[in-house]
Amino acid sequence: MPVLINNRQQIEDSWIRLIDDQIIEDQSHIIVSLYRLIRDWSQLQLLEIAIGVELESDAVVEDMLFALSEIDMVVLHFEVFADGRAFSQAKLLRERYGFSGDIRARGDVIRDQLAFMRRCGFSQFEVGDDENIELAFLAFNEISSAYQSDLNRIA
């Protein structure tokens, strides 16, 4: 099981990921796919629960803008760590579309990319339980300066 962290500590995961036809029962925080968000939005937007949406790397961020103001979390899925599209997705969500909820990295999340992720606007990270969590936190500050303006102040 992956462990959920922010840039300082391990955190509780109160979110439940639902598959596309799974019935919503008494969950308080659900994560749905972009497909389901679009398909079920008329019902989802009536629910008084927290809604997160998960995007694959080939998703177009603009496809979820219609719901962004009512969404509490975006999960960006790294199928392979070397596929860097999610970095741009996070940057767009934060910088262009002003998303202020959590952005979570899921999937092939490696310690050595955490600092880049945070600088692109990610705020939560599902890291593999084979990582030494205490050491993982060090990765955020291995390089203490940056040439590019970044989004630390938001994350």
Binding site: G84, F87, I143
Partner: protein, 552 residues
């Protein structure tokens, strides 16, 4: 020379410690092989045929004497006593031990050098005109812009895991000496009607398996918009470049697939969001970077030098070298000196540790302690007083760095080939040696005139064979080395890709085939005609007949 400030130094130092940690985690089995591979690549470390290869960045091809001595010391201590100069103005160590690489990087950091992003699918080291700041045809010194791009692209959080590698070349001169149009992005400083300088931007050039000449995406980009525009291009590429197949992943494939006009529209629509953001460059920042370059204190010298005149008149060997290996400098009394790395005691582009030390001393003595690397794998001392050329020539001669063959048939661009590279199909170094021996006689060599031969050991085209006037590509035929010959390529202002002459030729005959091509050219050319001009006039067939008249 750009001089690091405290932020530059700290970043490079911390990067070394980060890589040291990654390497020890890998060696202790705590870091996955594939993850470590991607991390080490972004620190310049390949695994080659015999050993790892470490590619060290030489930003825009400029080094100082102290850095050169450090390369010499590393070559002695950690390697086999030499380095190799690449077509992207970097240097490579071919025999480091993996566990010692962090220590090598620490020594490099101590002289303001690094290997960051010299490989891997990220923005690579920026290349530039090797005559930046000294060329007669220069509109503006490109190095300030190169340094801005270096900083912007270094550890860019969004663009460190691109679909594929990404290469920039920048020039401020009219003549292209950096193969601009075969880079992912080429930036040429130009002046508009209002007298302002900006950039002509080409995109999607590249060699490799699918060679493409870059296309103009922006005919005039304001200097202040440089970084925002590059960010827009990179974002479009990062999101929409193909990732399913390695050889379909370069930006040239994306540009070709949707067409340059649609690509330009996508970039523009991305750009309008960020053009007026904090990515906009302000004059103060540009000035700050410009001020971080050490200025040379040129003397006021007369245009003519009596002693030089006498030496040229009385010493034909010196005067041949002067004619072939030196060029005009924009400041009176100074000359640009090329150091040929194409002496056949070494593989093309290789320099021994004792040569490195000697060059460092010569740079201190004659050329403001500065050395340049060219894309054609030679070195330059860019600002030598005319009156000192004779002394310098004697010293270079002693070091076997004065072979008067710059821009000739024997100034061959050559990849390491099968001897070192795990990707190669065929050798390249021995083929270049064979060709060089055939044209050893200087009268013969200089009679032929300027002619570029480029050799690659495989279709990845590190030896830029597509843009050689004569290009040789190594192919494997049932375990034997054969060579496909192309004619008519060029990486200059009118960049063109060579066309295949005919069937591939076996290694035993390839030297003869090149000789036949050149003889045909010499026979068929009209007064003053270059190889490409002759080829354009007569077509390939007359040459083809002569080459394939024999038995291969």
């Amino acid at each position: 020379m750009y001089v690091y400030n405290q932020v530059d130094q700290q970043l490079v130092d911390q990067r070394v410690e980060q890589f040291r940690d990654q390497t020890s985690r890998y060696l202790e089995g705590r870091l996955d092989e594939e993850v470590y591979k991607q991390l080490r690549l972004r620190n310049g470390l390949y695994v080659q045929r015999h050993a790892p290869m470490l590619r060290v960045a030489v930003p825009y091809g400029v080094l100082n004497a102290q850095q050169m001595r450090s390369l010499a010391s590393i070559a002695r201590t950690y390697d086999r006593g030499y380095v190799h100069v690449t077509t992207r103005q970097n240097v490579q160590f071919n025999w480091p031990r993996l566990n010692e690489v962090p220590e090598i990087l620490r020594e490099l950091a101590a002289v303001q050098m690094h290997a960051i992003q010299t490989s891997g699918n990220c923005i690579r080291n920026v290349t530039s005109d090797p005559l930046a700041g000294v060329a007669l045809d220069e509109i503006e010194d490109p190095r300030i812009w190169c340094e801005l791009i270096r900083q912007w692209s270094t550890l860019h959080p969004e663009f460190s895991f691109l679909p594929r590698k990404f290469k920039f070349a920048v020039t401020g001169s009219r003549e292209d000496r950096v193969a601009l149009q075969v880079h992912d992005i080429g930036l040429q400083l130009i002046r508009n009607e209002l007298g302002e300088t900006g950039f002509k931007v080409t995109v999607g050039g590249g060699l490799g398996r699918t060679p493409v000449v870059g296309k103009i995406v922006n005919p005039f980009l304001s200097r202040y918009d440089l970084i925002s525009y590059l960010e827009a291009i990179l974002r479009v590429y990062n999101l929409y470049g193909r990732r399913d197949k390695l050889y379909k992943a370069r930006i040239k494939i994306l540009v070709n697939a949707i067409g340059i006009d649609q690509f330009r529209d996508q970039v523009d629509s991305e750009w309008q969001h960020i053009r007026e953001s904090d990515l906009k460059l302000n004059p103060l920042l540009i000035q700050q970077v410009a001020d971080s370059f050490l200025a040379h204190e040129y003397k006021t010298l007369s245009k003519e030098d009596e002693s030089l005149k006498r030496q040229l008149d009385t010493n034909p060997v010196f005067s041949t070298w002067y004619r072939q290996n030196t060029r005009n400098h924009k400041i009176a009394g100074y000359r640009i000196v090329y150091l040929s790395l194409k002496d056949h005691s070494m593989a093309p582009g290789d320099i021994s540790e004792s040569q490195l030390d000697a060059i460092a001393d010569l740079a201190d003595q004659y050329s403001f302690s500065e050395i340049r690397i060219t894309y054609t794998q030679n070195l330059i001392l860019a600002q030598v007083e005319q009156s000192e050329l004779y002394q310098l020539w004697k010293a270079l001669h002693k070091q076997k760095l004065a072979t008067p063959n710059i821009a000739t048939v024997n100034d061959i661009i050559c990849c390491p080939g099968f001897d070192f590279c795990a990707l190669a199909n065929a050798t390249s170094i021995d083929v270049s040696e064979d060709i060089m021996r055939r044209f050893d006689k200087l009268d013969h060599l200089h009679g032929i005139g300027d002619l570029r031969i480029n050799i690659s050991g495989c279709m990845n085209a590190c030896g830029h064979h597509h843009v050689g006037h004569i290009g040789l590509l190594g192919v494997d035929k049932k375990g034997e080395d054969w060579y496909q010959i192309t004619l008519g390529g060029s990486a200059s202002n009118h960049t063109a890709l060579g066309k295949v002459l005919g069937p591939a030729v076996a290694k035993a005959h390839v030297g003869q085939a090149v000789e036949d091509i050149i003889h045909a050219y010499v026979q068929l050319r009209e007064q003053g005609e270059s190889f490409l001009q002759t080829l354009n006039r007569i077509g390939r067939n007359p040459i083809k007949e002569k080459v394939y008249a024999g038995t291969y």
